[in-house]
Structure formats: C-alpha cells, structure tokens
Amino acid sequence: MSARSADLIDAGARASLWLQPHRLVLIAIGLALVVCAAVFMRWDWLPDYYDLALQGIWRTIWILAVTCVLGFMLAVPIGFVQVTGPRWLSLPAYWFCTVIRGTPLLLQLWFLYYGLGSLFPQFPWIRESFLWPYLRQAWPYAILSLTLSYAAYEGEVMRGAFAGVARGQLETARAFGMSRWKVFRRIWLPQAIYRALPTLAGETVLQLKATPLVATITVVDIYAVASRVRQSTFIVYEPLLLLAVIYLCITGILVLAFRKLEARIPNRLG
C-alpha cells in the first residue's frame, strides 16, 4: 500500500471519528441558524457598503502585517539586550516592556494621537518639516502604537526565547571560531525564533484583535466600516455579526498559516 493511500485512509478515519452523530446535529442547528440569519435579518445595506468593506478588510490586514513585522524587528533587540546587554540598555528595555504591558493599548493610542498630536503643532520646526503632512494624519499614530505594543509583548517572549537557547550551543559555535555576529545570526536568533514561534501565533492573533481600536482615531478599518453602517442605517446586529465572522475568518487563516510554518521547523531542539 502506498503512503498516499494510507494517508487517505487515515484522513477518512479521522473525519468519521470527528463526525459523530451529535456533531451532525449541532452542525445542522448551526446551518439552520445561518439560514435564519440570512432570511430574516436585514442585509439590503450590503451592496452599498461592499466596496468600503473590502477596503476596510484590506486596511485591517495591511495594518496587522506592517505592525507585526515592524514590531517583531523591534522585539528582537529588546529581548536580546535584556538577556545579554549592558545595564544601560537592558534597564530601558525592561521598563519599556513593563510600561507598555502595564497600560491599556487604547490609552496608549489616545496618548499618542491626542496627547503627542496636540503637542507637535507648538513647535514651528515640526510644522515646517517634511514629516508634518504625515503627522497630521491618524494612521502613523495607529501604526506606531500597535507596533510598540507588539514589540513589548513579543520582546518579553523573545527575552525568554533567547535565554532558553542552550549555552553549550553558543559555546560550541564560538569554539568553531564563529564571530559573535555570526553566532547570533546562525545559531542564537534562529533557535530563539523556533522557540518563540508557538507564542508568536498567539500574539499575532491578539494583535489582530487589537486592530479595531484604531477605528477610535478615525482610521477606517473594517471595524470602522461596521460602525459606520450602524450609525447611518441604525441596523445594529447584522454588521456586527458579519464583522465577527470576518475576524473569525482572518484568525482562522492566521492560525493555519502559523501551523504550516511551525510544521517546517525541525522539532529536535536543544
């Protein structure tokens, strides 16, 4: 028997195990609820907001991607200096993590947008600089605060991950004559990332769940589109339910993508 057909039989067995009778009933109830929602609730607003919703979804995903990548790039040095850096670097990194993790993201966002944003215009050199057109908009503040938040939470994870890499490996690499930079690049960082990957998935889902906050500073993501529908049509549940489904889908895709990524990692560690 080929490996492929064995796989197929295995998958079939797993599917029949999963599809127990009570699950079929639950699925039927779920489908009935969805049909009821489609038939009895109001969806006539959908065509009007279709384009805006697509733009909103696109913006949400874009914000998520940018802030996660930037935040991770910040998190690596933040975690690293806390493990091995000098005191004048590790202490600020520690306090950065503590402060960001100790205050609500909504407050940080409003602090940056309203607080810093209201200070900037006082300085003529900022008003005249090339950055001013950007500083007048909302999205740089949204990107900045989400990036900082991700960097702090993930920096804490990376700190543990860097500390968890076995000392012997680093010493071996040094004994092979690798330079410090090469040890970091080839041994320390990859192993730390392998260790951090399962938490990375969770943090990224949390980051997705934090993105709707940017709607409170006038960035039009998918959440803002849903609130706009609610405010202009007075339809409450339908846009919110659809919004929940959209976030569910994005979360599902994220989880699957990270699972694929994790499967590619050699699982013998340490």
Partner: protein, 267 residues
C-alpha cells in the same frame, strides 16, 4: 460615541485647527499640570480617581465572573458529555478569535435588548441596564473563555494519584472538588489567572467605547474639556501602571501562598 470634532485636535479646516491649538496653548499656559490634576473640583484628579475606582470595580467583577465560568467550563470540558464539550469548545474558540471590542458591542446591545424583550413579553416595563452591571457581565463572559482554558490546564496538571486517592477514600464529587481538585490546581492556575487579572484591568478601558465612565473615559472627558491631552493621558497611564505594579506585588504573595508546602523542582 467616537471622537467627534470637538474632541479631535486634528480634524477640520487648517484655520479652525490653528485657532483650537492657540486656545489649547492658552489653556496650557494658564494651568500647570498640578492644578489640572488637583483632587478638588477645579482640578480633575478626583474624576480620574473615581474612574480608577470604577475600573477596578469592573475588573474585580469581571474577573470573579470569569473564574466562576472558568471553573464550570473547565469541569464541563473535562467531565461533561460530548455535546457540552463541543458547545464549550465553540464558546472558547469564538470568544478568543473575535476582538473584545466587537464582543462587547454585540453582547452589550444583544444583552440589553434581550432582557428588555423578555421583560416586555412578561408584561413588565423596559429597564435601563446599569452600565456597570452590563460592563461587568460582558467582560466576565470574555474572561470566562480564557479562564476555562487556564483552569482546564491546571486541573490536568494535578498528579493523577491525588484524584485517585480521593476517590479511593470514598469522597463524593462535591467534596473532592472542594478539598482536592480546587486547592491542588491552584498553584498551576495562578500564573495564568494572574495574567488574566492584568488583562481584565486593561480590558476595562474598552468600555470607554460604549461610553462607560471608567478611567480612560474620564481621562478623555477631562482632556477634551481642558485641552491638556498630554498631561491627562500621561496621568492615566501612570495610574494604570501603578495598578499593574501593585497587582504584581500581590500576585507574587498569592503565588507563594498557593505554592506553600509544594515540592520545588526547579530553582
């Protein structure tokens, strides 16, 4: 609900914007940060502290409801029938995948609507749901999903022999729960629960979106009235940070208490 023009320093025409900033500068020049944060009425410090009180109240309530749901949910997931288990799985998955903000709005609107419809069907008057109670319930349901997972993991971490020994002594399930399972799972659950408490204190800020007067909302009111955005958001941040640091101290104590008499494998 969200930042209307008056609260937003960066909207409107450039001219208007300039005016507002000059106005803001005058305000800033007139009152120092200490005057603004004074506890008695011309200052807004009292309002901030009241907001903090409300935040802590909501966090305590939500956390307690979350733990109650969590204990029930964990037992349902571990010992319940197949249908209970699937429904609980659905609950924890959904709550953990949908943003808190969306859940809060959905549960807030749907919850108050359902209760009012129920009351009308039973022939009573519609009631205005207290924002505090609604906030506590909504955040409690969100917390419940997370604490279900934490407590389930903690119960699974109890050495099996302890539960078997309790059964062998002929303890009834209720007695076993009270005397063995709950105390024995506590040391394993406390790090996760502590994390949830910190999340609860920060999630209370989300209730500002539905207009409840907790710390973030009070701060925004104070800031938009006095135009001293920087001072007030900084002050509120300091209050939240103090709450977190204070919680950390308490958590460390509770953890030491829960681990008393436990064999320490590491350190």
């Amino acid at each position: 609900m969200r930042g209307s023009g008056a609260q937003n320093p960066k909207r409107g025409s450039a001219e208007h914007d300039g005016d507002r900033h000059i106005e803001a500068l005058i305000h800033l020049a007139q009152a120092s940060a200490f005057d603004l944060l004074a506890l008695s009425p011309p200052g807004w410090g009292g309002n901030l502290l009241r907001g903090l009180m409300n935040s802590v109240l909501i966090a305590v309530g939500a956390f307690s409801i979350g733990i109650l749901i969590g204990i029930g949910g964990a037992f349902g997931k571990l010992y319940g029938g197949p249908v209970t288990r699937d429904l609980l799985e659905l609950y924890t998955t959904l709550v953990r995948a949908i943003p808190e903000l969306v859940l809060i709005l959905l549960l807030y609107f749907a919850g108050t609507d359902l209760i009012n419809r129920l009351l009308e069907a039973l022939g009573y008057q519609r009631i205005d749901i207290n924002g505090l109670v609604a906030g506590i319930c909504v955040l409690g349901i969100v917390q419940g999903a997370y604490s279900t997972e934490v407590i389930r993991g903690a119960i699974l971490a109890i050495p099996q022999g302890q539960i078997e020994a309790a059964r062998a002594y002929g303890m009834s399930p209720g007695l076993m729960l009270r005397r063995i399972t709950l105390p024995a799972m506590l040391p394993f659950a406390i790090p996760g629960l502590a994390n949830l408490w910190l999340i609860a204190t920060k999630d209370t800020a989300l209730l500002a979106i539905v207009g409840f007067n907790e710390l973030t909302q009070e701060t925004r009111t104070a800031a938009s009235t006095t135009k001293a955005y920087f001072t007030f958001f900084l002050a509120a941040g300091a209050l939240y940070l103090l709450l977190t640091l204070f919680s950390n101290v308490i958590i460390a104590r509770v953890e030491r208490w829960a681990r008393r008499g436990m064999y320490m494998e590491t350190h």
